[in-house]
């Protein structure tokens, strides 16, 4: 019967799938496998030399203070940005989803930062954070203390400064996702709750947030992965400094792999990052699913 699946896989099916399969093999599976193999070698990119070293790269990484700092910083970055980004995104989504004048204008304004090039944003923020920059000027006028050397040259403020920029930049994008989720909530539920005399807070708790959970899970996992992969901001703004206070795992991988050409060592760090992301994403999914149950 035409158009009905017989459950059998035919040669022509394989032919149709071949472009996708080739892409999957060449650009996804092969690099992953190659990275795994390389992490057990001391392969040097330029000379092409290197042999099997077992788990040496992994054990060396855990005693490498720079890598340990990179892992801690990456976790701090994720923990420090994730709740704020999601909370602000939900609040903004609820705000712009109401029938307010200039609704589209506000949506565009909040979404705008996420379409600007990350490099451009990082350069602008570098100027804002610099000694004598606008942020210092504003804080000075308000009488709030600030690091005299500029935010990106202080060990205490460099990472939080990048985190603040990232929250500013990411919120608009997730806001749009939450707006889409909000619009899928049937209006009848709110009408019924209003008839029952439920207040705004009760409606938020009983209707809005439960309906946002699938999107919340999606945003949580997506933003976690994105946070663990932070690179451009560090590359443009601080190069991991000062004193490794903004060193992150991906920047460490770049430094080792593509700057010093310790490909095996860099690959081992990249694989640890992969395992970390997988574990944390799995934990997040379990957590949200259990709450839903």
């Amino acid at each position: 019967m035409r158009g009905v699946s017989t459950g059998r896989f035919r040669g022509s099916d394989l032919l149709m799938l071949s472009p996708w399969l080739a892409t999957l093999l060449l650009f996804w599976l092969f690099p992953v496998a190659a990275s795994l193999v390389l992490s057990f070698t001391d392969y040097q990119l330029l000379s092409g030399q290197g042999g099997f070293v077992g788990f040496d790269n992994f054990t060396a990484l855990f005693s490498d203070q720079t890598f340990v700092r990179a892992v801690i910083n990456t976790l701090l970055f994720t923990v420090g940005t994730l709740p704020f980004t999601i909370a602000f995104a939900i609040l903004l989504a609820i705000f712009v989803n109401r029938n307010l004048p200039f609704k589209t204008f506000f949506q565009s304004v909040y979404f705008f930062p996420s379409i600007v090039s990350l490099v451009v944003v990082a350069l602008i923020y570098s100027t804002l954070y610099a000694r004598g920059g606008y942020i210092q000027m504003i804080l000075g006028m308000l009488g709030i203390p600030y690091p005299a050397e500029g935010f990106l040259f202080s060990e205490a403020t460099a990472l939080p400064a990048i985190m603040a920029m990232d929250v500013w930049m990411s919120t608009g994008y997730y806001m749009l996702l939450f707006v889409a989720a909000l619009q899928s909530i049937p209006q009848e539920l709110y009408d019924a709750a209003a008839l029952e005399g439920a207040g705004a807070w009760h409606r938020l708790k009983a209707i809005t947030l439960p309906h946002l959970k699938p999107m919340l899970l999606f945003v949580l996992v997506l933003n976690t992965i994105k946070s663990f992969q932070i690179f451009v901001e560090v590359f443009v703004m601080t190069k991991g400094g000062p004193l490794n206070s903004t060193m992150t795992i991906v920047y460490f991988v770049y430094e080792e792999g593509l700057h010093k050409f310790n490909i095996g060592y860099g690959a081992a760090a990249a694989n640890i990052l992969f395992i970390l992301i997988a574990i944390i994403a799995w934990m997040e999914m379990k957590l949200v699913q259990e709450r839903q149950a």
Binding site: L46, G150, F153, K239, G241, H259
Partner: protein
């Protein structure tokens, strides 16, 4: 059907291996700015006219050029001729990716200056193309405000430090010295001149150990920290912005800053002088960098590639390139180079300093050593370690890297 066979025949013919003719010579270089890029094109064209070899230009950027070159060479392919920073030559030469030019340079050896960074284990792998040195830029107006006579020029470390102190006290937004922060690839270039001026040598005789924990290392780092305390610690580009804004007394920079300052309408006077020495009558050493040209070991056309190196360093082409880049130090000693009379004094200072300049040691692991050196200086700059602890740490951490290469 016949049409299908014709197409197939054409494809087979196209894929067939055989001697390649009219293969363009691929040259990767870093000059993309509008003042210099047309000259690069002009130099390539004049080579094409002179030799009938086609040149295909590839542009690199300093942010990722090192990686691009390494990846291209590691595949066994890549361009024929490549521009390299002076401190990268040993790294690529040691990996066997560069053509040994020792027996192919002939007369060039006597005409060009500063070959040292191009020589690795007594073999020549790179031809100098552009020389760079750093000078002390001084704000005359701030010196006047600090009570210095109109002809004052700091010639020793103590004079520079005292003048920085006095300028730094002039006001909230005025700084004595523009000190480099922990900025990768730049900080070590600011520390090493003081280290060399104090008589320091980076390596011991057999290059198995760095020697920063010595008296020279300590004296130079302590001096750098004192200068930093009497000024502003910032990135190189921002230090230069502050200087151009008339807010910094002294900065160490290169010819590019002269160009920037001359294009701006400055509300102050400045002058350029040689690096100060430790004691009166001594010599202040500066950092010499440069651009070098190398030939890929896998080049299909090495003869033409070497001819391109010769062409680019000929006196008339050197003059064109030097003028376009705003450099004052031609690489070819026979280049008839004159500069604007208004800049003649500045040019003379640069030409004098280049003779008292040194480049980084030629070592394949310099990139890793440089990173450790900068990390150590950073620890001292942020008061995380004393200067002696930081310098000892540098010597300790560089030792295994150097010993690994010494055993090879």
């Amino acid at each position: 059907m016949r049409f299908g066979f014709a197409i197939l025949a054409l494809i087979v013919a196209g894929c067939a291996s055989g001697p390649k003719t009219n293969v363009p010579l691929v040259w990767w270089q870093f000059w993309t700015n509008p003042e210099v890029r047309p000259v690069i094109t002009q130099l390539a064209s004049s080579f094409e006219t002179a030799t009938q070899n086609k040149v295909e230009l590839g542009d690199l950027t300093w942010s990722d050029g090192h990686e691009k070159i390494a990846i291209a060479l590691s595949t066994g392919g890549g361009p024929d001729v490549i521009e390299l920073g002076s401190d990268w030559v040993a790294e690529f030469a040691a990996s066997g990716r560069l053509l040994d030019l020792t027996d192919q340079l002939g007369g060039l050896r006597d005409s060009l200056l500063m070959w040292e960074p191009g020589i690795y284990r007594d073999r020549m792998y790179a031809v100098p193309w552009m020389l760079r040195t750093r000078m002390l830029f001084c704000n005359r107006t701030l010196l006047d405000s600090a009570g210095y006579p109109a002809d004052f020029v700091p010639t020793t470390w103590s004079e520079l430090l005292e003048a920085s102190r006095r300028i730094d006290k002039l006001g909230e937004d005025v700084y004595g010295f523009g000190s480099n922060s922990a900025e990768r690839h730049r900080l070590y270039k600011k520390y090493l001149p003081f280290f060399w001026s104090a008589g320091g040598e980076v390596f011991n005789a057999n290059a198995t150990q760095t020697q920063f924990g010595t008296i020279a290392g300590r004296a130079s780092l302590d001096f750098y920290l004192l200068l930093s305390a009497n000024g502003i610690v910032e990135t190189q580009s921002r230090i230069e912005e502050y200087f151009a804004g008339g807010k910094v007394g002294f900065v160490i920079s290169g010819e590019w800053l002269v160009g920037k300052l001359n294009r701006a309408e400055l509300p102050f006077e400045y002058f350029v002088t040689v690096m100060p020495s430790v004691e009166p009558g001594g010599t202040g050493i500066s950092f010499a960098g440069g651009e070098y040209l190398v030939v890929n070991q896998s080049s299909q056309n090495p003869g033409a590639a070497v001819a391109l190196l010769r062409h680019l360093t000929m006196p008339e082409n050197d003059r064109l390139f030097t003028t376009a880049t705003g450099s004052y130090t031609p690489v070819n000693r026979f280049t008839a180079f004159t500069t604007d009379s208004a800049l003649a004094t500045t040019a003379a200072v640069f030409q004098r300093q280049i003779g008292d300049s040194r480049s980084t040691p030629v070592h394949p692991a310099w990139v890793a050593i440089e990173e450790i050196l900068e990390r150590g200086i950073e620890q001292a700059l942020y008061n995380k370690m004393s200067s002696q602890e930081a310098l000892d740490m540098i010597d300790r951490e560089t030792a295994p890297i150097l010993q690994k290469y010494a055993r090879r």
